[in-house]
Symmetry: C2
Subunit: 216 residues, 2 copies
Amino acid sequence: MGAAPTTERGRSTRQRIVAAAREVVAEKGASAASLDDVGARAPASRSQLYHYFDDKNDLLKAVAEATNEMVLGEQQELFAGLGTWEGLVRWTDALVAIQERHGGEGGCPIANLLSQVGEHHDQIRVVLTSGYDRWEEHIRAGLTAMIASGELRPDTDADWLATSTLASLQGGLVLTQARRDPRSLRRALDGALALVATYRSGERLGDTDRGRPPAV
Amino acid sequence: MGAAPTTERGRSTRQRIVAAAREVVAEKGASAASLDDVGARAPASRSQLYHYFDDKNDLLKAVAEATNEMVLGEQQELFAGLGTWEGLVRWTDALVAIQERHGGEGGCPIANLLSQVGEHHDQIRVVLTSGYDRWEEHIRAGLTAMIASGELRPDTDADWLATSTLASLQGGLVLTQARRDPRSLRRALDGALALVATYRSGERLGDTDRGRPPAV
DNA sequence: GAAGTATTGGACTGTCAAGTCCACTTGGGG
DNA sequence: CCCCAAGTGGACTTGACAGTCCAATACTTC
């Protein structure tokens, strides 16, 4: 950890650096992102970087934290609706829509950081893991609410479904990133929805409304 | 593409280089893997590397191909059994067992390459995508066989379930890689199994044997 | 307005890795 | 035995990047 900024000005400089670093890392990958790139984009000089961060890894750790906030932040409103089936479907639609806007490029920024730096830097891995934990917890909370409201049967295992749903999402993003085709994510999330649907109260196999037919 | 080897000796040198490169890349990541590392491990000298490959990216493309073969190769026998429910369960057990052996480290080598280089090098991305396509096709073929044998209902959408299952696997690997805990993969694959199970002939919701209870 | 602290600028250095070059060896065919 | 192409060895060049250093400037506090 570099020096914590004590003034407003320092805080804003530090924040500018992290934001710039997050962008550069997202665009070029963590290894290819040079401190010169970051400094040019912030803008900030070399000594500013080393004033606020010990070294590149320290900066990447801050980037990991910022990435968590960004990814979870852009779903904040959607998370609030996860307590109903319609909200769950809306959430999946929004995730697919995001990928469609990007042409299937990019994948999940958290997963990318994990592959690029998390695997070899435990501190950063732990940060990214906490992002996944929070993500999963939002899903679990939604499912739990649906159980409480009677929308899902009482024997539903919310922990299991939450992990499984997040995994479908992440895997769908990986396939979409590889294929540049958001339909892989759509199918993956339809799978997750269909599994949750088997726990809807009053549902019977064969007449289950899975919310949508498999899109492709 | 560098020179294709014409002699037996040349072929074995080239092959040694690719194998060494695949290992080094798996251990240190694609960017951190230097040609010196690869040369030292092969062993092969600098000019041999540039004799057989145009540049580092060309070598990484060969690494991507070798990685596909390795990942799919180690599942070859298991793929053959995917035409039955028991074979499907065995396959998931084997995948979890592999992760347990590695302590949850590493994730999927194909996904790692995708994040590290595929996102910015289209040729390599296409190679990795073909790996995923083959993987998915093996699953699809197994499901199709189960439909043909009557084990799954005729209205089962094998394409959808195959994509969804591969996504659960990939996402489970991502979460396992982050958490260093193979239980995330177990849960994800149990989700995939449970979804397939809803299409087993004669099954009714509520008395469905999903093959296993959610493990954790 | 002076002293002290936080913040900033940018030149400089050492290291390391990609890619080049050329001389050398090996091995099979005439 | 000689020739020639395939294969091999490793020193060298070039460039980029992380990290250092020190002086300059902006605030803050009294």
